[in-house]
Amino acid sequence: MDFYPLYNSLRVALVSCVVVFFTGIIAAWHVSKLPAMIRGVVDVILTLPLVLPPTVTGYFLLRLLGPRRLIGAWVMSHFGVRLSMSWHSAIFASVVVSFPLMYRTSRGAFESVSKNIIHSAKILGLSDSFTFWRIVVPCCKKGITAGAVLSFARALGEYGATSMIAGYIPGKTAIISTTVYHLWRTGNDELAMKWVLVNVAISFAVLIALNVIERGKS
């Protein structure tokens, strides 16, 4: 059994989890401070990937990152890096799809922090970034960790958008989900079953971790 898909899946999920961790909480923090009207609109845009079919997200990504498209062509000509059909292409898909989970969970956590705590910090002369990283984020540690675990789980389970932007190239862009599909289509049921079990085991572990974190909350 070639373990490349496992390695690649974990690598993609980890990298996208780190990216989503920072972008998600920063976006959540800034959005929670916006005026109500604008906040509603921005919130919808940032949450959209959660409800769109992954193929629609994949289509958008291809329109932007494909070798002859706006961003894809620019990166190709300036850095010689191909954004689609390589192992890192899957990161774009995972990031976009798992972002809303991180964003929404941390926004909920931020909104539960008492306004007086933030006001107090300001009046005491503490800078906005100190207040955010040293007071607000630690206060929301559990919510944020839960968000990160959920996004990791989602990134690991990503299939639709990934198969469009990264495809299935064994030993290159193959991840567990695309491998299972490929093996089933080519009639290799036995091996497909093995990968299915691997994936179930990882997701199981991740969700148990999530429960442990959430139980610690109360």
Partner: protein, 339 residues
Amino acid sequence: MSLCLDIRKKFPGFSLNVSFDVGDESLAVLGASGSGKSLTLSCIAGIVKPDEGRIIIDGVTVFDSVKGINIPPQRRRTGLMFQDYALFPNMTVEENIRVSRRHCGNETDELIRRFGLESVRNLLPSQISGGQKQRTALARTLLSCPKILMLDEPFSALDSHLRFQTERELSEVFREFHGTVILVSHSMEESYRLCGKTAVLHGGHVEISGATDDVFRSPKTKQAAILTGCKNISRSLGTHDGKIHASDWDIELQCPDYHVDAKYIGIRSHKIIHGGGVNSFMFRVIQAVENPFSFTVMLLAKENASPVFWEADKTLWREIESDTVKISFPPENLLMLKE
């Protein structure tokens, strides 16, 4: 140090229009809930931006709507202790106090010792008592070296036995603090004892302000009378023979100081006197409620009138205890009140 405040802000259904000047002294802002007390403090601290006006702290303009000045709260050098203390839950008592340290003579260790927090310095706010939380919040505020010290309802979250102790500690802090102190409260007794000046806030504006003694002796408005603890207030009308008719109590009173502006007349319950004399009437006793050191006697002059509350000495009331009683409203004890 001083504070000059003149601000206006509109909300649907409420508008704030507050102005006062305070020097190196302590000002009590009395007001019912919703009168704009906390909002005023938020404007001074820079958390809420007024629509128009000016705020000058110690000669520095921190807000001026005409000149477009609005200094952020971080650089205003005010200290505001919130009602819920707003301690940082992820930091220990000591970290909470130390986090905002500026240098102005106060040292962390000294403050921790002075406020009796040595034994809890390494605990989280969730692990300490209400009184300790308040002292932590106060130490934290003092260590940030504010030019103005503002306290929002410091007594409301405390048990009654802690209130007096806290009051004594605060009076010491106030005495040592070099600058303006603003105490927001709906509790008149603590404000009276702690602050030399008082401003009464009602419906978003200052109704009356001045030396605390004067405000309590002569509240001038109905709200100020209520907030300074006057239990007996009636609408009043001048009559032809120079008396005034207290319409809620349905009695006529002689009152040499009467002025047409006075739409209400009031008398504090302990300023009513037992027995005859000017303005004396027979009242029917509705109820007598025993307090630790006095009786509050509820009296009616006539059917369908509003009751008058008389605070009677315990031994006196035990002697007279009857269905009717003669009491008098000495003219010098009557309060003429505007709307």
